[in-house]
């Protein structure tokens, strides 16, 4: 008997009328077709599992009053240098834990540990991004205290990390002035999801043809919901606004 519609032989319905299997749309999981194969309607998001785990991470973080930031950029844009300075400048004010994502090495986690942070390193091997499972396990290993900040430094890559929700509260994207002003329009998926864009290495502007106004105008198109802050982690220029951004979003101690 047909498991879906209950007909006796796959072609005759309960009411005695003849019907076709194999092509008609049906509810999720509806199976149609008999001899020669069945079509099973799934209507399922490909990343449903990642998204569900990311939602669990988000709930876990929120329940503990922890601010999680997913920090993304191309390789070499200055994520780790920014975090080193941030950790040193805000020591005693904010507790910052770091989840480091790199294909290989523990170089960045060594730097962040030297800056006074608790760190968990994830090496993705051939993987080009972090996902919600990796972050769930890293959070368990990191054990961040209530009211702290967790910065997830994603694998340096302006393409792949954009697709994977990790459970963060905010996405922060770095665009360094040495990369050129056209990166937001060249990598719109990444910049579209940003809540904050930090234009980094601004101390080098005087050596470059980087057009900050054009970059800011492009960011208004690619990232309409994002604040844009030019910063230099080397000189500290503009960095106070980044700290204010973090302070405003860090839950009050409970």
């Amino acid at each position: 008997m047909c498991a879906t519609c209950g007909c006796a032989d796959g072609t005759r319905a309960h009411d005695g009328t003849w019907h076709e299997h194999g092509t008609a749309p049906g509810p999720p999981g509806h199976q149609q077709g008999h001899a020669g194969g069945q079509t099973v309607t799934l209507e399922e998001k490909v990343l449903a599992r990642n998204d569900a785990l990311a939602a669990q991470n988000r709930d876990w973080l929120r329940a503990r009053g922890i601010l999680a930031v997913n920090l993304m950029s191309s390789p070499g844009a200055g994520k780790t240098t920014l975090l080193e300075r941030t950790a040193r400048d805000l020591a005693g004010e904010l507790v910052i834990g770091i989840i480091e994502g790199d294909q290989e090495t523990a170089l960045d986690s060594d730097r962040m540990r030297a800056a006074g942070c608790r760190v968990v390193q994830i090496n993705t091997g051939t993987g080009c991004h972090l996902d919600a499972v990796m972050v769930r396990d890293a959070l368990a290993a990191l054990g961040p205290p209530a009211g702290s900040v967790v910065v997830i430094e994603n694998v340096g890559n302006l393409v792949c990390p954009a697709l994977f929700d990790l459970g963060e509260a905010h996405r922060v994207v770095l665009a360094s002035v040495t990369e050129g002003a056209d990166k937001p329009v060249k990598y719109p998926h990444m910049f579209r999801s940003a809540g904050l864009v930090l234009v980094s290495k601004t101390d080098l502007l005087r050596h470059l043809d980087f057009d900050l106004d054009r970059c800011t105008a492009d960011l208004a198109k690619t990232s309409p919901g994002a604040a844009v802050l030019p910063v230099s982690a080397r000189t500290g220029d503009g960095i106070g606004r980044w700290y204010d951004w973090l302070r405003r979003r860090t839950p009050a101690p409970r």
Binding site: G29, Q38, E44, V46, L47, R49, V159, L163, R192, A220
Partner: protein
């Protein structure tokens, strides 16, 4: 190359839903704003399905265009680029569809 991870997620999701099934065709929907390149998925699919119940399955991909609505002028439009701008020039738009990345259906033997 996140498309390999995406192709593996397709295999995992189908295997979880239909354990032990021999899948002969997979129908995906990849929206224009999903951030996934259909040709790259096609490239990775055989690799991701090797040794699974999906090995040798045919891959059909539907690529629906994006649908947006402008908050500034209220117009509905289909963006012609991943930088989503209304023809009126406003970037303040709602993406109604086009970000979907889903498994529509499969055929099993």
């Amino acid at each position: 190359m996140h498309e390999l991870a995406i192709a593996e997620s397709v295999v995992d999701a189908i295997t979880e839903q239909l354990p032990g099934a021999t899948v002969t065709c997979v129908h995906l929907e990849i929206g224009a704003l999903s951030g996934v390149v259909p040709d790259s998925i096609r490239f990775c699919f055989d690799l991701a399905t090797e040794g699974t119940g999906l090995a040798g399955a045919r891959l059909e991909i539907t690529e629906p265009p994006a649908q947006c609505r402008c908050r500034a002028c209220g117009a509905g439009f289909q963006p012609d680029s991943p930088v989503v701008l209304c023809p009126c020039g406003s970037p303040d738009v709602v993406v109604l569809s086009g970000e979907q990345l889903k498994i529509v259906s499969v055929q099993v033997a």
